[in-house]
């Protein structure tokens, strides 16, 4: 009966979303009067999960699961859910989680609600709030199936420390034959840089920066803040920055704690994509730019003067607060 969460890790280390899922899953387990179980693949330090309420962790260790494979991972999670008799299964909103979710839903005969942003309004019937229309609205979804699958939006619930029983058991599930239909040939991942998906802070540039040669200050500001860099759609369409940095309705969604937009006017599609960010700062020389209506803090000024000053002041702030 326990609630099951799939806790993602990278190079053995749990991601922050794993602890957020645990915090969220624990509250649902409490609502339903049951315990919280986690399933983790090739991860270490299961005891860290107990600080966020996990009662039992199923540790899967497998060379075959070294590369992510949606079918194999989905099968591992559904086998764990079946063993635990879980009626609620929760995953994150990472690219990998969204990839395996539909297969997992079919395996479990579960109704699936993605982009969930709050605890269930009720568990019988099971109703949960999610974003729709690319963050332009919320939608209350009722799941009618016996097993429910939820995809939790990043940063929507936060971390809540609470102790769980913290038992650890090894777990093993056979890999289905058809998992071999998609094989990883190569992975091209930026190492060292913060990714938009994981970033607490995102610094984003728009067409107001006039050309790709002016991105040095965006990158420097990002470095000072430990942030990921991003850009608006026109900038990626013009080829100034790679598509992978495009945030907005047809690009990547951003759900960071702090989003700083430099020289971005704030088209409705862009604002939709970054709406889930907690605090938004806009720097733009046009006081009429729509972004000022969506931002928490704004600076009306020339980015080429404001940003270098901001970098210097932040460096001073960091060294005083180190």
């Amino acid at each position: 009966m326990s609630v099951l969460i799939y806790t993602e890790s990278e190079n053995g280390k749990f991601k922050k979303t794993a602890f957020e899922l645990a915090s969220y899953g624990k509250e649902i387990a409490n609502m339903m009067g049951t315990t919280l179980t986690a399933v983790a693949v090739n991860a270490e330090n299961a005891e860290e999960l107990a600080n966020y309420g996990v009662d039992k962790t199923l540790m899967v260790t497998s060379d075959e699961l070294k590369n992510f494979n949606a079918k194999a991972y989905a099968h591992t999670i559904s086998s764990a859910a079946e063993q635990e008799g879980s009626k609620v299964v929760i995953i994150s909103s990472s690219a990998n989680a969204k990839y395996l979710a539909p297969e997992l839903a079919i395996n479990l005969k579960a109704g699936y609600a993605s982009n969930v942003v709050a605890l269930p309004e009720s568990t019988e019937p099971f109703k949960v709030k999610r974003t729709a229309f690319t963050n332009k609205a919320f939608n209350l979804t009722e799941i009618n199936t016996e097993v429910k699958l939820l995809g939790l939006s990043k940063n929507s619930f936060g971390l809540k420390e609470t102790s769980g029983a913290g038992a650890v058991a090894s777990f093993d599930a056979a890999i289905p034959d058809n998992a071999n239909g998609v094989e990883v040939a190569s992975v091209d991942k930026v190492t060292g840089a913060v990714t938009i998906a994981d970033a607490e802070v995102v610094v984003s540039g728009g067409r107001g920066l006039k050309g790709p040669e002016n991105w040095g200050m965006v990158e420097e500001l990002a470095e000072v803040l430990g942030a990921a860099t991003a850009c608006s759609k026109p900038v990626s369409d013009l080829g100034w920055r790679p598509h992978s940095e495009h945030v907005g309705q047809t690009g990547k969604p951003v759900a960071s704690n702090l989003y700083i937009a430099i020289g971005i006017s704030g088209a409705i599609q862009h604002l939709a994509g970054i709406n889930a960010s907690k605090t938004k700062v806009v720097i733009n020389n046009d006081p009429e730019a729509p972004f000022f209506k969506a931002a928490d803090y704004g600076v009306v000024g020339d980015a080429f003067e404001v940003v270098p000053q901001l970098i210097e002041k932040l460096k001073a702030f960091k060294s005083n607060n180190a």
């Binding site: 690219a95 969204k98 539909p102 979804t141 990883v184 803090y297």
Partner: protein, 248 residues
């Protein structure tokens, strides 16, 4: 190669979103509908396969009669034929089941769908469809090449990309990158005239029950006014971010 492109009929990206009937229904009043952008990248890639590799392209939509102009637009862009399953697309599972039936009966080699629709953002139809017909599946696909029955795809991952080897039959959840924005096609007059003569078959849905139901909608709470900081006084901005927003 037989290609099936799944098309969602969605509000234009510039649409203001409103609800009606006590916030239980999307208000379509004054809204312009378009081919879902993620699907349009896939449709354009399908046109490339048609022109360079002799593929045939069928487009399919689960929707009521009001979605036909969107399908006609796909035909005008160059798809060979269209299928509409005459039903309200009540949830992702229901839609995936309807598409699975079409996919099986038509024996398609490659099925291209968008990674998600920009209205409900469920992000589940392509993956469920692949699972239901036991085809290979690549999500957030940004590049696709097919040679015989072998396929090479690139998928976007958090912080980079991954190249995978796979084979037909294959379903992809596509997005921008499959083709560039500048490669998207606007139907010309000849295409529009030809589209009128192309087959648009209407099929009845099966009796699949939806597993989820959108029971209510709400819009985000209106935002408070922006706090303006003078460019001469950026220390204030740092102070606000540190002490008020507590984000640095």
């Amino acid at each position: 190669m037989k290609i099936l492109v799944c098309i969602s009929h969605v509000p234009d990206t510039t649409s203001k979103i409103n609800f009606t009937e006590g916030d239980t229904k999307f208000d379509t009043n004054g809204v312009q509908f378009v081919i879902n952008p993620n699907d349009e990248f896939g449709l354009t890639r399908a046109m490339w396969f048609k022109e360079k590799q002799g593929a045939t392209v069928t487009v399919v939509n689960v929707g009521e009669a009001d979605t036909e102009p969107t399908l006609r637009k796909a035909l005008a862009i160059g798809a060979d034929e269209a299928i509409r399953i005459n039903a309200h697309p009540s949830d992702g599972f229901f839609v995936a089941q309807q598409l699975a039936k079409v996919a099986k009966e038509g024996n398609y080699d490659l099925i291209i769908a968008g990674r998600e629709s920009i209205d409900y953002n469920g992000g589940m139809v392509p993956g469920m469809l692949a699972s239901l017909i036991d085809a290979n599946f690549v999500n957030t696909c940004i590049s696709l090449e097919v040679e015989g029955t072998d396929a090479t795809a690139v998928r976007e991952i958090d912080g980079g990309k991954e190249t995978v080897k796979t084979s037909l039959p294959l379903v992809i959840g596509g997005q921008k990158g499959l083709v560039e924005e500048k490669d998207l096609r606007i139907p010309n007059m000849r295409g529009i005239m030809m589209a009128r003569k192309k087959a648009l078959t209407v099929l009845d849905p099966d009796d699949t029950q939806a597993r989820t139901q959108a029971v209510a909608f709400e819009k985000p709470a209106p935002k408070g006014d922006v706090k303006l900081v003078s460019p001469e006084n950026l220390d204030e901005l740092i102070d606000l971010l540190h002490n008020e927003a507590k984000v640095i």
